[in-house]
Symmetry: C2
Subunit: 241 residues, 2 copies
């Protein structure tokens, strides 16, 4: 399993992913699920991945290949595409086609090749945009009404987002919100695990503004998690029935 979450706010974009992958409960590994493609000052694109690792790794590798190909046409390179919408189409088509290829090989095995992605970014002069890309390559976009997108194990971490996140949320509060959303998920689903990758892209920076990895045992994450537990217990104690 996986938990990835992205917020699209007036001040910028905040993304968080875990790193746990598993093939069964007895085969657990650490893989980065946040991928950044950057032409600093001109364009920044971040992709978070969930689902079949062979599908998402191959899709990311193909996107990277198309960027590095000197003969790539703009309709194939996400760093050359004329808009974020076009980027979403390229990523969606790549994901769907990789999935179809692999599914054809796996059909006898009944192994899932489901995979989904959160795509977020901005090109100079354009708006910040964030998309959830489905396994079939179609996508939906975050809006002011629903400024966050989630993939993977999304339920445990949703209540906190529903209660505190709006498009007016500051980048600092947004980082707190995604980390606490992840904290609730980590507590309830063993197949989501540290380390965590946090990415912040401030509006119009068109580059990664800040990136941080929280390793297992990270002192600031632990302190925040405990403070939140305490705040919940204190709040609970004060509620009258």
């Amino acid at each position: 399993m996986t938990y990835c979450v992205g917020l699209l706010l007036n001040e910028g974009i905040v993304l968080l992913s875990d790193t746990r992958t598993n093939a069964g409960l007895d085969n657990i590994s650490v893989y980065r699920k946040t991928f950044v493609f950057e032409d600093p000052g001109e364009r920044v694109i971040a992709i978070l991945t969930a689902g079949s690792l062979s599908v998402t790794q191959t899709a990311i590798a193909l996107l990277q290949d198309a960027i590095e190909d000197p003969d790539a046409e703009p309709q194939h390179s996400i760093l050359a595409a004329p808009s974020m919408l076009k980027v979403a189409e390229i990523v969606g088509n790549t994901l769907a086609s990789v999935r179809q290829d692999i599914e054809a090989k796996m059909s006898a095995e009944k192994v899932s090749t489901q995979a989904s992605m959160i795509l977020a970014g901005q090109r100079r002069g354009g708006p910040m945009r964030m998309f959830l890309i489905y396994p079939e390559g179609n996508f939906i976009e975050a809006t002011a009404d629903t400024p966050y997108l989630q993939i993977g194990e999304h339920k445990y971490g949703k209540p906190i987002l529903d209660r505190v996140v709006t498009t007016q949320t500051s980048l600092l509060d947004a980082q707190k919100a995604v980390l606490l959303s992840m904290d609730s998920t980590l507590r309830s689903n063993l197949s989501v695990g540290m380390p965590l990758d946090l990415t912040v892209i401030a509006k119009d920076d068109c580059r990664v503004t800040a990136q941080r990895r929280f390793e297992p045992g990270d002192e600031s994450f632990r302190a925040m998690s405990e403070a939140w537990s305490q705040a919940l217990r204190d709040g609970f104690a004060r509620i009258e029935i």
Copy 2:
């Protein structure tokens, strides 16, 4: 969908169920999902139901029939069975057999006949016990390590239970905990809905100690829900990153 939750505490048992049933998103009804079978002072049994309404209604009706049958043998009546474990077996067997009957009729339709139950109660002289009964009739039991059981849409309401409920929790705090757990679920899943049925069975009462229905717009539930939202936002604001 449905959300039902039961807590087994040193001081007693606390149960909460919603009442929403739906056949598709466009056909929504209100059905009670909490059923009490009582021989006051001697024995109290409460059953919460989730899943296919035709399965759970038929199973409950058969359990009731067996109680009312003057010739019923103890191995068929849950009010005459010699232990709560035996009650769990009767309920499990009834659920599984009804489900098999209905599934045989439905097999061409691909309609789910999944159904599960929470069974809780006490007979005079015996311990309080609480079971989660699976669609196949097998069951697990709540213990001091995991003093709560959930059926239906369990994920949204789990974090609060994990953080505040232990076997030492008072009956009053336990009622708060299940109502706040339900509140988080109601906010995130439209197929869980008011009114709510709350049941409290104090230890060794061997009868329903308190029962309350929270109708839509219930003032005390609304106030508690808002106080909890405020407590979460206040707690969130105080957390340092």
